[in-house]
Symmetry: C2
């Protein structure tokens, strides 16, 4: 069925409307998280586009056809993910071609690429793989360097349809390397990032708003958005009507950073762990970590960074009192007097792991993550102690996080990394920890 | 606006149509993953319902109203998440009341609950919090034990609208404890789980299908679904037309389990780590882990289990050669002769950590997670060695995983836990590892 009735041209100057259709029963059954929404939403957001809608539907042909008709009628850009594979539940290509009144034609270039790919990985190509060699008669192909199904690009009715393969390691490079530049060329998104993001830690959202008030009141055309997540708050400043250029936005963000002092983490999208990794690598310092209740999550945050071996000496997950004594040299009398969840134990763990692994900095976490075991009196479930061993001195800090086990673990790790970041900043300034805390 | 035109009654016997509306710019900007889809989709799936559609839209009142009208006209059950908070972008309650032609009325019971909650956490209640004390004039309240915004339940036009608060720690218990029983009472989902899930490890999806062929061919009315994720494959068997009762389904699943032998993990939804934890606790054995490239993720898998201290002695993240020598007693000559990514090093790490922590079992992972550092010749990036120290003997296994760093880490951890599971099964049967491998 052709869709001539749906070709409502976009009003000049209006923001283009983007819709994302994610296909697959496995998403609706909760078997797979919808990472495509997270990825594509973030990529578009950086370029000044707020995705207007994401619809997840089943693999059924009727459901795909009905939803596509509806989205195509309303949107300027429709992106689909999934359903381009070789098996019989992969129907997206056929259903959308029919909806747009187009024929699918065999593309010999894609066919050759698929044949070559199978030869390279030494696997036999089955006839159904040829399905993936078809493209829209009036459409283009987005080559896939990481899989067999290419993406498809169709411009029709003054709109754009982009069909992307489901596997994230195929979709993501295709999106950033091919889709974003093509959309920018059509002026459907900004050529470069459209806002400056200020990452902060240790300040709540409303407090941050209050602190920035004085600066932002001087720039009335500024658009400001806050986003809080797991103990951190990001603030994005942009200028939708282009009153301020990127240069000006950067200078405003710099004012904010200066005002915040150590509560400022970075501009952009780096994680706290990445920022700390760069600090450590920059100063040639090394790190070791010891953890009980977070059970490996702190070490994992650092080892998620490619090249972590340059600064990360290692970690010890000391879940029992025995292991704290055996691996971290925590004195038995300290454990019996103060308990494993104590300021004293946190510092002993930090010093122990730094010494064992000959690291400059040692960070330790001990606490009760809950929900059922541990916790009592002055240290209920959710009580966490962070211990720090640093060239500038040793110290500890007590924190309390209500919430389920997973949340307590993540918040504790975030706090520990943030306190290490602050310690590294102090070290650069040569401020003794005792004065700065 | 009333919606009398939308009250299309459901045909008797037809499966009820569920739609989920997730609200929030933070989802569309990719700042937060849509965990509500994963959670609610899985919960409904277990009770025999395939969610038909999930729509994520912006916080704008017009977008919410338009989408709700459309979903309400098509669905039997509409679930919304988010937008029930106290601030001005929380508009769901008002917009949906208007769409259904209902008034919102102040509920004194909710008001009291909110007041009590603020008193308990010692915070001042601001006037906008009272917004949360309103309910639909013809609707019910789902009390919220973990936050201020209660859920709302409305039956109208032969359909059900369920409005849930956004924070997962509020939504999830409300859904399982209140929403599921209410829906079951209305016969909109099964009272108990509607299928039996067989979890397997170490067998690919198509191989599993082939192995089950003989059993399933004897039960033609069976519905079978496979789901592969990170090196594991789940198989769900159900009987949509009730030809087979749950008892029969369980006996068919038991046949499958027997056929699979050690490739069978469990029935239901337990994680591999949970299954291994239960094996260890059941036999009174203890575990310690050592890891380089997975950097804490293996330890974290076990410490995610509440009560892990009963069997988990601890872990060592030995990222450098130094740390392998210092903490795990890996001999320097072994490291220089075979390298840190080798079968010999994996076994030395496993033995070292078990000895250091006085554990019965030691599991080690060493390898190149990539993408840029490490890897060469016979051990390219993605090469992983798993080392095992067990009462039945010590051994190692070489694996190769192509893919990005995160995938290599997760797959390696899954494989290591699975090999430990098999080792524990062998131990029960007293089969020497050398014969069984």
């Amino acid at each position: 069925m052709a869709t001539s009735e749906s070709s409502k041209p976009r009003a000049t100057g209006a923001a283009p409307r983007y819709e994302l259709l994610t296909l697959g029963d496995e998403l609706l059954l909760g078997l797979t998280a919808n990472g495509h929404l997270t990825f594509i939403g973030a990529q578009l957001g950086r370029r000044g586009v707020l995705l207007q809608r994401n619809v997840t539907i089943t693999d059924e042909a009727d459901a795909i056809a009905a939803q596509f008709q509806e989205s195509w009628a309303r949107a300027d850009v429709v992106i689909t993910t999934g359903g381009l594979g070789p098996t019989c539940d992969d129907r997206t290509r056929e259903v959308l071609a029919m909806a747009l009144g187009q024929q699918l034609i065999l593309d010999p270039v894609i066919e050759q690429a698929i044949t070559d790919r199978f030869a390279k990985i030494n696997r036999k190509m089955t006839p159904n793989n040829l399905k993936q060699a078809y493209r829209f008669e009036r459409g283009e192909v987005l080559p896939n360097a990481n899989g067999t199904a290419p993406g498809l690009w169709v411009e029709q009715d003054g709109k754009v349809l982009i069909m992307l393969p489901g596997p994230p390691n195929e979709l993501q490079p295709m999106f950033t390397e091919q889709v974003v530049p093509r959309l920018a060329k059509l002026r459907l998104l900004s050529e470069s990032e459209a806002y400056v993001q200020i990452r902060t830690a240790g300040v709540g959202e409303s407090m941050l708003e209050t602190r920035f008030q004085e600066i932002f009141s001087r720039y009335p055309a500024l658009s400001i958005a806050y986003c809080a997540h797991q103990g951190q708050v990001d603030c994005r400043v942009s200028s939708p009507d282009k009153t301020y250029g990127m240069e000006k936005l950067r200078s405003i963000a710099q004012e904010c950073a200066t005002l915040l002092g150590d509560d400022f983490v970075c501009f952009g999208h780096d994680s706290l762990a990445k920022v700390v990794a760069d600090q450590l690598k920059g100063s040639g310092r090394t790190l070791a970590v010891a953890e009980s209740c977070t059970g490996g999550l702190l070490a994992n945050s650092f080892t998620d960074i490619c090249g972590a071996s340059k600064f990360f000496q290692g970690g010890i997950v000391s879940y029992s009192n025995d292991s704290k004594m055996l691996l971290l040299d925590c004195p038995e009398c300290l454990l019996s007097q103060h308990g494993a969840v104590s300021a004293e134990c946190a510092v002993a763990m930090a010093c122990g792991v730094a010494e064992q692994l000959a690291a400059d900095f040692g960070v330790a976490i001990t606490g009760f993550a809950g929900p059922t075991s541990g916790g009592c009196g002055e240290n209920p479930v959710g009580t966490i102690y962070i211990g720090m061993h640093a060239p500038g001195g040793d110290w500890s800090r007590k924190l309390t996080y209500p919430g389920p086990r997973g949340t307590v673990k993540v918040r504790s790790v975030t706090a520990a990394i943030d306190w290490l970041r602050r310690e590294l900043l102090r070290e650069v300034r040569k401020v003794p920890a005792s004065l700065a805390n």
